[in-house]
Every structure is written in C-alpha cells, then in structure tokens.
Symmetry: C2
Subunit: 401 residues, 2 copies
C-alpha cells in the first residue's frame, strides 16, 4: 500500500469524525465579532496538551493543566478578548465556572473540559456574558471554521487545516486550528492551537507525539523565546476511525502528519504576525548540537534588526552574523557559511561579492530564507518569524487605550 | 573637607589634563562628515578596557584586546562607517596598520594604541583614506567635541561629559564620550565609549572600577542582552593631577564618579536610540538576587511590546508582567507589585484600578519609569532602554542598500 498524507480541501478542526464546534458573539471585548467557542468530541476521547512555560500562568492555564493530567478531556471552551491572567482567586473561580458551564451544556464532567483564554491581561472575565454566550453556542459538524475565527485577536485571517493520513495502520484524519502571535507573543497574542484526530492511538504516544511536534513547530516561532501567560496547544483523539491502534512502534506516519500540521499552522502564524508582510525562515545547519541550532535559529528569527532588514529587502547579512556571534553557540568564524535567499554571501568566514540590487529584488518574496552552516557538527533546526514593519509598532503602541 | 562631584560645563573626553583629540572627514562611507579621530595622552598613561562578549569579534577588537593586556595604552584611533568585522586576515592586517599609522604620527609604540571601528559588517577598510586621514588629524586641547562627533553613526547627537571630583585624595577630572546603539546594538550601532582621567590611580583598581561601572551602566542598556562585534569601552589615566594615589582602599569617590559618568552616557545612548522619542528606565527591586534583577530589568527594557506601549503612552502593564513571567527569575505572583510612572497598577498580584487616560497623559514625558517589586529578596537593578517607533523600522529597513 502506498502511504500518503493528503490535504483536505477546506479542512479544519472538525474534519476528523465525531467532532463538533461552534462559536458566538459574546461581546467580551468588542461587539460584532465571534469571541467565544466550543470544540467537542461526541465520543469519549484521549487528550494531551502543552502549556506556556511562563511562571505567570493565566487562570485557564492552571485549570487546564490540572484537567489535562487525566488525559481524558473531550471538550475545549475558549474565548478571546480577555486573558483572565493576573486576576487572582477570582480568575481561578471564573475559569472553573467556564468549564462547569460548558460541561453542563454538553452533559459531560467539568474536568473533561479544557479552558483557554486570550486577550488583555489584568481584566476580569465578564461571566454574565460568558454564561449567556455558552448557552447560545450551536455545535455543528463544520463549526471548526467559526471556531477558528472566534479565537482570533490581532490575527488578520483564520488558520486551519486538516489532513487525511493513509498508511499501513489504516486511514484517519487529523485537523487543527491556531491563532497568533504578533511578532512577539504578547498579552493579546497568545498562541493557541487546538488539534483533533479520529485515529485510534495509544495515550502516552499521543502525548509524546504532540510534544515533539510542538517542539519543531510552534516552539520555533521567532520571538525572543517569548511565551505568553496563556499559550496552550491541545489535541483530542476520539478513536472513531478504524485504523489499527497507533503506538510508538508503528507511529511514524502519525508523528509526521502531526508535525506537518503544526508546522503549517506555525508558518501561518508567523506570516500573519502583527504588521508582517512576509515569512522569514531561518535554517541552521551543522551546529555543534541540535539545542544550539535551535537557539541560534530562534535568535536570528527574533532579531529586530534582521526583521527590519528583511522588511526593507536589505541584504544586510552582517546582522545575521552579529546575532550568531552573541548567541553563545559554539562556532568557528573561519568555517562559517551564510546564504540569503539561496545566494551565498559569506564563505569560510569571509564576505563573498554579490549584486546587491539583484539580491534585494529577490528578497521581495512572500518568504525570505536565511541559511547558516556552522560546519562544526550535526545539529540542525528551522525557525520561523516575520519581518518588522512600521505597522507592527502602530498596532502595538495603542492597544489598551 | 567636603567631598563633591561637579559637572564641568561643556565637559568632554579632553577635559582632564594632558589629553588631546582631533578628527577629520576621511570619506570612509559618506562624504562631508567627521569619521576618523584620535585621542591621545601627552604623558604615558595606564589603561583598561572592556570588550564585546560576542564570539565574532571585529579585527580592531582582537587587536585592542591584545594591546590592552599591558595596561599601558595612551592613544585611541577610531573610525565610523566601516566595522572591519568579518573581514578575515586582511581585516587584522588593516587594524594593525591603523595602530601603526597612529603610533608613527604620535611618536609612540604601536602596542600603546587602541583601535576601534564602527559601521557596516563585512566591508574592508579603505586603508588609503585611513592613512591620509590620520595624517591630517590636528590634535587639540578641546578636540574631544570633534571626536565625539566622529564616532557617531545613526546617533543624532554627540554624547560627552566631564566631572571634577573633589575629595580626600585631592582633586581630579574624569571625562568621557560615547556613541550608540540603536534600539538594539546592530552592525551600525556598536557601543563605543572612551574615558579619560588625570587622576593618579592604581592600575588594577582602575581596571576593576571600569568593569564595575560598565556593569551598572552600558551593560544595562536594553536590547535583549545584545552586543555587537565591535563594542568597546576604554579608559586612560595619565596621572597628571596631584591627588594621592587612588587604590581599592580609598577609591570610593572615584568609583562613584566613574559610574555616574558611565550611567549618564548610557542614558544618553538609550534616549538617542534609533527612532526613540523617550527614555525608559526599568527598576527591579527585591528580586531573589542581583543577577536575577539585572536579567529581568534588561528583558523588560528590551521587550518590543513594552517599548511599543511606551511609544503610544499605553499603560498596558500586562506586558511588563508577561515579560516577568517568561524571564525565568524566581517569583511569587501573589506578592508582586508593579508601578508605572510612579502609579501602582498591581498590588500583591492583583490589578489595581487606575484612571487610564490620566496615566496615559503622564506617560507623555521624556522619561517613563517602570518599577517592579518582587518582594522575595534583596536583589535590585536598573536598566535603560527607549521606546520603539515606526521611525526605528524605517531607519533599519534600508540601511546598506
């Protein structure tokens, strides 16, 4: 049998069998936009999730971490417009009430509901509107599209995908939605992603596969290693497909498909960064170790100077090297190679001549790729970011007022 | 006797006795601007310096580190417009030739000349123009002002100061000049500072005092802990004053004066960051340790979101807390206090109500102060940065082309 992973046209988080979703306008912060939604598995499901590493965690994160421990969540309730972060005990009670309200509506246990919020830090949740809103949500088979819109904040477009995996173990579907992230994950730019699959799968393997996929995708989004108080990525697997049980032993294709979904959503987030006009991909090769490669890749993708240069189509590769130098990674300047948009600009530590205007024109693309070969080891990594535009500053200099 | 430190009106790096300086237009990158200069002590001098921690060091840094080992430098030759970084063996030869040309002009040994460069990375030094330029430099008693201009790159104004110290040990003068630093130290925003004093001082103490002063000033300039390939701060002490020899035992006033000079120059650099419209001061108090306080202070001052909010007079303190959370520093959210421009906005981890418009108006000042009390220890630190403006992006998106 030929193994393949196929994109589903207009695929979304409700593409896998047995998942429903819906969203409403609850006027949490602004009127006239979807800002409250539910994702639900009709059958009991296994679940896994990863959360922000920030020491200051929003109330819904604290609750969801607890609910995640059992690995049996089958619903997510999520809102935008209010992060419910830095809100003390009241915030914890509000998050618990959100899960209880959703659970009651769905007829499941409250500890099977994950709660996620994104928006301004320090505001308390308008629970009256949340309660009314949850009551009004209509769960639909194609509700993923609405849910993808409801979690948007400064995102300019929804981010959703689903793939059909056809492999030795059988056929199954994985879907997902996500929201950004400005250039940097800020208060209003929490990274949220909700993934679903109808695959039959071992629970520990599901958790491991999610963690690995997130490491190579969302965690490689630029952004000075930034992380918000509310970041969360979760997956539910309801076993409605008829594939053979997927485990660590036979899970290669699942791992690959999940990673490709997460990478796709991560690239969507980067390309839709606040004020962004293009995606930046930073490939680090032959570093001393994978962890060093990861660190360097993220630092370069996060550099305001590199981002500004890309915005202006300026092939100013010295800025890449400057970040490299301060990264703390092991390196030998004498063997460094640097490529910009496929053109080598530095070889063995010395600058190569290139036509500045020509390369500048080639940088006027939707994606700009920066590649650095350190030539001292076997560590490699890819990170994604976006350019830094005047528009970014405009968006972020007048947000709460 | 009353001890005091007095500002000298129009003070500069040549205010201390026995120092001369000069600068010329050498057309290294642009015509019609000062870009090559010399600083010289007529008498033999002790010296100390600190350098970039980047693993990729420009040729002049490599040379100056060597010349600094003996602690006997009595001249600095410096240019703007070309960083002489990533220029391989040729760069090292060019830096050595710069020191030799300056030494010949001054009649001193080449290893007593420190070399500093700032400008675009990856370009080789136009040595013919350097040679002609050095020949034309006229050394003057008030030449510090010209030198302060010659080291400017994207700086909009020169940064210079001198103070007269009157203390138990006698009277002496310390002077200094510096250049920025955009928001982030980039290729064209190397941090350079040259300090002079006529004090009689012990050499080891001079080196220690410089290091300590730099730690609490230039090293607390924002900017994601960024450092360029060319950063350098040096001091020369020629002992022409008649004070009693300053040592670790009696050096309190010298240490204080040197630190205040470095802090003044650091604040000038921050306030003159690329596109900056105001200075941001971040005070961290009662952290677990001084090193944690330093780290948090710098991260907050470097956050693009905090900087954007300050630019827009947006009292969005949640962004400060978000940085805090991801900083890795020890903290207990339940005892956190946060102040913005003197107004408390968070107490014991919970938001305090405040008049948004009123606080926003108070943020329209030359300086915005952010204060965080972690209330878990005795570590404190202050960091400086500047707001992030649309103009920053404009400056940095079109630099080499």
């Amino acid at each position: 049998m030929k193994e393949k992973i196929e994109d589903i046209k207009q695929g979304t988080v409700t593409s896998p069998q047995g998942f429903l979703a819906g969203a409403v306008e609850a006027a949490i912060k602004y009127k006239g936009r979807l800002d409250l939604g539910l994702l639900y598995s009709e059958a009991p499901a296994l679940s896994a999730a990863v959360f922000t590493r920030s020491k200051i965690k929003a109330a819904p994160i604290i609750l969801s971490m607890k609910n995640n421990e059992k690995g049996r969540a089958r619903a997510v309730v999520v809102n935008s417009g209010c992060a419910n972060a830095c809100t003390g005990d009241r915030g914890l009670r509000d998050a618990a009430e959100m899960s209880a309200l959703a659970a009651k509506k769905l007829g499941i246990r409250a500890d099977q509901v994950m709660v996620a919020s994104t928006g301004v830090i320090g505001n308390v949740m308008p629970m009256d509107r949340i309660q009314k809103g949850i009551g009004k949500i209509e769960l639909l088979k194609d509700g993923g599209h609405k849910l993808a819109r409801a979690i948007m904040t400064t995102d300019t477009r929804p981010k959703e995908i689903a793939v059909r995996v056809m492999e030795q173990n059988g056929h199954y579907t994985i879907g997902g939605i996500a929201k950004g992230a400005g250039m940097i994950h800020p208060d209003m730019a929490t990274l949220l992603s909700f993934l679903t699959t109808d695959a039959r799968i071992n629970r520990e393997f599901l958790a491991k596969a999610l963690k690995a996929a997130v490491e190579d995708s969302f965690n490689m989004l630029t952004i000075d290693g930034d992380t918000s108080t509310n970041d969360m990525v979760s997956i539910m697997a309801n076993g409605q497909a008829d594939n053979d049980l997927i485990t660590a032993e036979n899970g290669r294709m699942f791992r690959e498909a999940l990673r490709s979904i997460c990478r796709y959503l991560a690239c969507c987030i980067a390309a839709d960064g606040e004020g962004a006009t293009r995606l930046i991909e930073v490939c680090i090769e032959s570093a001393k170790s994978k962890s060093q490669a990861r660190k360097v890749a993220r630092l370069i993708a996060a550099s305001a100077l590199v981002k500004s240069a890309v915005h202006g189509n300026d092939p100013n590769w010295g800025r890449v090297v400057a970040v490299l130098g301060r990264s703390g990674a092991d390196m030998d300047e004498k063997v460094l190679d640097v490529y910009l948009q496929g053109e080598q600009v530095m070889r063995a530590g010395s600058p190569l001549p290139f036509e500045k205007n020509k390369l500048s024109r080639r940088m006027k693309a939707d994606q700009v790729t920066i590649r650095v070969c350190l030539n001292i080891g076997a560590g490699s990594a890819v990170a994604w970011g976006c350019d830094l535009s005047q528009e970014y500053v405009t968006i972020n200099s007048d947000y709460t007022t």
